[in-house]
C-alpha cells in the first residue's frame, strides 16, 4: 500500500463518498447523481467498459473504494462530453472521470498496464523533464513500451508517416540528442513542485 493510500484509508475509514468529495476533482458533484442512467446510455464507449459513470457514482456511494479506484473504466473516457450535455443534473461527468483516474493514479491503485495511464505517464514525464514535449522520444518510447520486437514492428509500420512528418518539419530527428527545452529549467521545476505542493495540501495528501 502506498503511503498516500494508507493515509487516505486511515483518514476516511468507510466514508468513501467524503473522500471523493474532498480529494477528487469535481467530486462534490457525485452525491447529486439521481441514477437515471442517461450518461450510461449516452456513452459511445458504453458497451465496452465495465463501469459506466452511473455505476461508478453508485459504487462510490456504496463505499466500494477498492473497486472504484482500481477500475479501468474512467481511463477509457474519451472526453466526448455526450454525458455532460445530457445529464439532467448537469454533473460535470467527464471531469469527474478524469478526476477519479488521476486520484487513483496518485494513490497507486490504478491498473498497472492500462494503456491510457501508461501513455499519460509517459507524456507527463517527457514534458516535465524540459518543459517541452520531445515528440521523437515520446513516439519511440510509446513504440517500444512492449519490448524491442514489437517496437521495431510498429516503427516500421509507421515509417512513411514519420518520414512525411520530418519532411513537413513536424518532427525533428535531431531531438534524439536531448531536444529543445525551456531556458530557465530550474525555475520551471520549482513551479511544478510548488503547484504539486499546493494541490496536495488542498486535497490533504501527505508528501
Amino acid at each position: 500500500m502506498s503511503a498516500h493510500n494508507s493515509q487516505a484509508v486511515e483518514r476516511y475509514r468507510n466514508d468513501f463518498l467524503r473522500e471523493v468529495e474532498e480529494r477528487v476533482e469535481e467530486g462534490q458533484w457525485v452525491k447529486m447523481c439521481m441514477q437515471c442512467g442517461v450518461c450510461a446510455g449516452s456513452c459511445p464507449f458504453g458497451p465496452h467498459w465495465q463501469h459506466s459513470p452511473q455505476k461508478l457514482f453508485m459504487m462510490i456511494r456504496a463505499g466500494k473504494r477498492q473497486e472504484v479506484l482500481s477500475s479501468d473504466s474512467m481511463w477509457m473516457c474519451t472526453s466526448c462530453y455526450n454525458c455532460v450535455v445530457r445529464c439532467p443534473r448537469q454533473l460535470p461527468i467527464t471531469h469527474i472521470m478524469h478526476g477519479l483516474a488521476s486520484y487513483a493514479h496518485r494513490l497507486g491503485l490504478a491498473p498497472k498496464s492500462q494503456p491510457t495511464r501508461e501513455f499519460a505517464t509517459m507524456f507527463w514525464n517527457n514534458l516535465a523533464k524540459k518543459g517541452r514535449v520531445n515528440e521523437l522520444k515520446l513516439t519511440l518510447a510509446l513504440y517500444f513500451k512492449d519490448g524491442l520486437v514489437s517496437g521495431i514492428k510498429t516503427a516500421l509500420g509507421m515509417q512513411s508517416i514519420g518520414l512525411g512528418m520530418v519532411k513537413a518539419k513536424r518532427l525533428n530527428p535531431m531531438e534524439i540528442l536531448g531536444g529543445h527545452g525551456l531556458k530557465d529549467l530550474k525555475g520551471f521545476h520549482a513551479i511544478i513542485a510548488k503547484a504539486r505542493e499546493i494541490e496536495d495540501k488542498k486535497k490533504g495528501l501527505v508528501s
Binding site: 437515471c36 442512467g37 446510455g41 439532467p88
Partner: protein, 427 residues
C-alpha cells in the same frame, strides 16, 4: 371603448380552467362580485382536452358540467372569454386592470346550430387537438365549450368564407364588424389561474420528437384516446395509421432536468399509468405498455392506482431514463439506454413512443405585473403587496384535485383582501 364595470370589492380571476372556474365560483358563492376572464373562446382549460381523469377514470365532462351549472346559476359571476389581461396597476385592494377583448364575430343570438361551419371551407390546425386534426375557420371549440357559441377565426375576415358564414346563419348571430376592444376594470384582488402548457418536446433533442412521426406527447395521446379526437378514439400511429399495440411511455420528458424544466411536474407519472389503461381498454390482453422511469411518483392515495397498474400483465416497467431514440425503416422506434436495476444495456423496439411531457407555467411568455413573484420555474406565488395570488396549475404543477384545492385557498385569500377594502370604504 373604455368602460368601468367593477368596483374595488370585485375579485378578478384570470384563466377559466378548472382552477380559475373554482376560484371564481367559490368567491361568488360567498357573495363577492367576481369577473372571470379567459383568453380562449371557451372555459374548461386543459382538462377539457383529457379523455379520462385519474384516479377514478371518469370523463372530464363530469367535473366541468357541475361547475358550468353552478356558474350559470350565479348572478355575481361575470365571464369574459377571448379576454386577456394586458396591464395591472395600483395596489392591494385597489387595482386597475386593462383587458384586451378579441372579437368573436358571433353574438349572443348563436344557437350553436353549426350552419356557419358547414358553409365555410377554410380550415386550420385544431388547437383543441394539439394540431393533430383540422378544424373549420368557423367552429365550436369542443363539445363541452362554454359559452356554447361558435367562433370565427380572424383569418376568415375579408374572405369569401366570411360572407358564406354570414349568409348561412339564420339567427343573425354573425357580426363581421366586431372589433378588438380595450376595457378597464377596478378590482380589489387578482387570482392568477393561468394554468400550464406542455413543454416544447422538440427541445429534448435525443428523443427526436421533431424528426420521428411516431414520437408523440402525452397530451396528444389523450386526444388519440378520445372518441371526439382526431382518430375517433383509436390508438393509431401517426406515420401509417397502423394500430399501436406496443407502446413506450417515457417519464420526466423535460421535467426534473436542469437543461429543460427543473421541477417535477408531479402528474405525469399518474398520467402515464392512466394511459396504459387506455391501451388495455383498446386492445385487451393483446398489447404491451412499457413505462421507462427514474422513479414513479404516485403521491399519497395515488399509490393504490400505481399498485393496480403494476398488477396488469400488459404493463411493464423499466427503471431507466432513456438516453436516446432511433427510428427504423418501418417507422418503429428503438429506445437505447441502461437500466438502473442491474445496469443492463437495452435497445428495445416499440410501435409508438409517448413522451410524458412536463408542465410549464402557461404564463411563461406573457408579461406579468412587475410586482408578481414567481419561483425558479415561473410558477406564480403571488404579489409582493399581498393582493394577488396564484392558483391551480399556474401556482405549481398539479392534478385537477389539487388545482381545485389551491383555487379554493386562493379564493379565501382574495375574499380577505376585498373584505378589508370594504371596511375601509365604509369608514
Amino acid at each position: 371603448m373604455k368602460a368601468s364595470i367593477a368596483t374595488n370589492q370585485t375579485i378578478l380571476v384570470v384563466g377559466g380552467g378548472i382552477g380559475g372556474m373554482t376560484a371564481a365560483l367559490e368567491a361568488a358563492e360567498c357573495g363577492k362580485q367576481v369577473i372571470l376572464v379567459e383568453k380562449n373562446p371557451t372555459l374548461g382549460g386543459r382538462t377539457a382536452l383529457l379523455y379520462r381523469y385519474f384516479p377514478k377514470m371518469c370523463h372530464p365532462t363530469c367535473g366541468l358540467e357541475i361547475n358550468l351549472r353552478r356558474l350559470k346559476g350565479n348572478r355575481r359571476l361575470r365571464v369574459l372569454t377571448q379576454a386577456e389581461v394586458t396591464e395591472v396597476s395600483g395596489r392591494n385592494g385597489d387595482y386597475t386592470v386593462k383587458l384586451k377583448l378579441s372579437p368573436r364575430y358571433v353574438n349572443e343570438n348563436c344557437t350553436a346550430c353549426g350552419e356557419c361551419a358547414l358553409a365555410v371551407s377554410g380550415q386550420m390546425p385544431n388547437p383543441y387537438d394539439y394540431g393533430l386534426s383540422q378544424i373549420k375557420l368557423a367552429y365550436l371549440p369542443h363539445a363541452m365549450a362554454y359559452p356554447q357559441r361558435y367562433v370565427l377565426d380572424p383569418a376568415i375576415i375579408g374572405t369569401a368564407d366570411a360572407e358564406k358564414a354570414n349568409s348561412a346563419c339564420k339567427y343573425g348571430a354573425i357580426d363581421l364588424a366586431m372589433k378588438e376592444e380595450t376595457i378597464e376594470l377596478k378590482v380589489g384582488s387578482v387570482i392568477w389561474a393561468t394554468g400550464w402548457k406542455p413543454y416544447d418536446a422538440a427541445k429534448i433533442q435525443p428523443y427526436g420528437y421533431d424528426r420521428f412521426a411516431n414520437v408523440i406527447t402525452s397530451v396528444e395521446f389523450e386526444r388519440l384516446a378520445d372518441p371526439h379526437g382526431p382518430t375517433g378514439g383509436k390508438l393509431l400511429r401517426p406515420s401509417d395509421g397502423a394500430p399501436a399495440k406496443n407502446i413506450a411511455f417515457i417519464q420526466c420528458a423535460g421535467s426534473r432536468d436542469e437543461n429543460h424544466l427543473r421541477h417535477c411536474s408531479r402528474i405525469c407519472c399518474m398520467a402515464s399509468l392512466k394511459q396504459t389503461q387506455y391501451v388495455r381498454e383498446a386492445y385487451g390482453d393483446d398489447c404491451k405498455s412499457t413505462i421507462y422511469y427514474i422513479d414513479i411518483r404516485a403521491i399519497d392515495r395515488f399509490e393504490d392506482f400505481y399498485r393496480k397498474v403494476q398488477q396488469d400483465p400488459t404493463v411493464g416497467f423499466v427503471k431507466s431514463k432513456v438516453a436516446r431514440i432511433a427510428q427504423n425503416e418501418n417507422g418503429s422506434l428503438i429506445l437505447h439506454g441502461v437500466d438502473t436495476e442491474g445496469y443492463h444495456r437495452y435497445a428495445t423496439e416499440h410501435d409508438l413512443v409517448v413522451l410524458a411531457i412536463g408542465m410549464e407555467p402557461e404564463a411563461n411568455g406573457i408579461k406579468l405585473p412587475d410586482d408578481i413573484v414567481v419561483d425558479s420555474s415561473g410558477f406564480i406565488e403571488g404579489s409582493k403587496d399581498g393582493g394577488q395570488f396564484g392558483a391551480g396549475a399556474a401556482a405549481s404543477p398539479t392534478d385537477v384535485n389539487r388545482s381545485v384545492q389551491s383555487a379554493t385557498a386562493a379564493a379565501l385569500r382574495a375574499i380577505q383582501v376585498v373584505h378589508k377594502t370594504a371596511a375601509v370604504e365604509v369608514a
